[in-house]
């Protein structure tokens, strides 16, 4: 297995849209193992997306099981993931391997229903909420060329939030 190089903002490649995985060959399985090795090399990290290492395919890995205070589904390999249902919102602090030395507050859906396939092309479905749902949404943003920086809620706004209604 290989630890892959992680792209760091402002690398323009982080803005690329990733394409669906079509080829479920041994190469995909090897890449997933390398991506996992890369992700595991950052202690405390809860996920990684393929475009962060320069492979622009819709693959994300998430594992929050080292934070047992949060409900979780263990180690997830999510290929071609799609969020089918969002519910509620929550504000939480996020950081990113691709944005060192900065964290900020981001609003995410509180609960999601997620569909994906695994490395063998088998269908997966999860209902998740809280920290794990946040991690999945963060990683899936990478597939659409978005970083948490694109969703930051300003300091004061985060503290005294008001709903703005356009008329």
């Amino acid at each position: 297995m290989t630890i892959l190089n992680v792209l760091v903002y402002p690398d323009e490649n982080l803005k690329k849209i990733s394409q669906p995985v079509k080829d479920f060959s041994a190469d995909l399985k090897k890449f997933v193992r390398d991506l996992e090795e890369t992700f595991r090399s950052f202690p405390g990290c809860v996920g990684i997306a393929a475009p962060q290492v320069g492979r622009f395919e819709r693959i994300v890995l998430v594992d929050i099981s080292h934070k047992p205070q949060h409900a979780n589904h263990g180690f997830l390999v999510l290929i071609n993931p799609e969020i089918k249902f969002y519910e509620g919102t929550s504000l939480g602090r996020e950081g990113c391997l691709s944005v060192p030395d900065y964290t900020g507050k981001v609003e995410r859906a509180k609960s999601i229903t997620l569909e994906a396939v695994n490395e063998s092309g088998e269908k997966l479905q999860f209902c998740m909420s809280g920290y794990e749902a946040r991690a999945v949404q963060h990683e899936m943003d990478h597939l659409d060329g978005k970083l948490f920086l694109d969703r930051l809620v300003g300091r004061r706004n985060a503290l005294s939030r008001r709903t703005e209604v356009s008329t």
């Binding site: 950052f42 405390g44 990290c45 809860v46 996920g47 990684i48 998430v62 934070k67 949060h70 939480g92 602090r93 996020e94 950081g95 990113c96 391997l97 060192p100 030395d101 900065y102 964290t103 920290y131 946040r134 991690a135 963060h138 990683e139 300091r155 004061r156 503290l159 005294s160």
Partner: protein, 174 residues
């Protein structure tokens, strides 16, 4: 070695302060670092880091005409940048109640004793002039653990008739 200055600036708020001050620094080949700029009451306040080729005295001399024109007080200090070493907060504290002298002193003393290192504090006076309300939000690192902070807040709330609560911050790095 880069020459970093901390510019502290305050004056009656009006549109254009940030643009004019930052443009003046840019004209001196200044490169801005981290900054906090906010309106406090009717005043606009700036604290900003700037890396700049000229010495402090020369920068002050060039800023003076602009600050006189905008009626701004300013002050410059030579500082070490120490960038790229952000400390992550692990707790967010919210305190609010009827405005009363000493609430910040009581709260921060209690939190200091409870091991809290404050990284960010923002406070506002809301309500109306007859019944002002003080609202304070703090983010910091709980050096003696979250339970110690929580106990200190409960005592603070009881003794000062304020609402004090805390929320752990569990930063997600993905």
């Amino acid at each position: 070695m880069e020459n970093w200055l901390m510019l502290t600036l305050v004056g009656k708020d009006r549109p254009g302060i940030v643009a004019e001050v930052s443009h003046a620094l840019f004209n001196m080949k200044g490169n801005l670092g981290e900054a906090s700029m906010t309106r406090l009451g009717g005043n606009f306040t700036i604290m900003l880091m700037v890396s700049i080729p000229e010495k402090k005295s020369a920068v002050a001399e060039k800023l003076r005409p602009l600050c006189d024109k905008l009626k701004l007080f300013f002050h410059l200090d030579e500082v070490e940048a120490d960038l790229h070493h952000h400390i992550e907060p692990d707790v967010r504290i919210s305190i609010h109640g009827a405005d009363q002298a000493g609430i910040v002193a009581h709260a921060t003393s209690a939190l200091f004793k409870a091991g809290l290192n404050i990284l960010n504090l923002e406070s506002d006076v809301g309500g109306n002039p007859e019944n002002p309300v003080y609202i304070m939000h703090i983010e910091g690192v709980a050096g003696k653990g979250l339970d110690t902070v929580d106990k200190a807040l409960q005592t603070l709330a009881r003794e000062n008739n304020v609402v004090a609560s805390m929320t752990p911050i569990d930063t997600m790095v993905g």
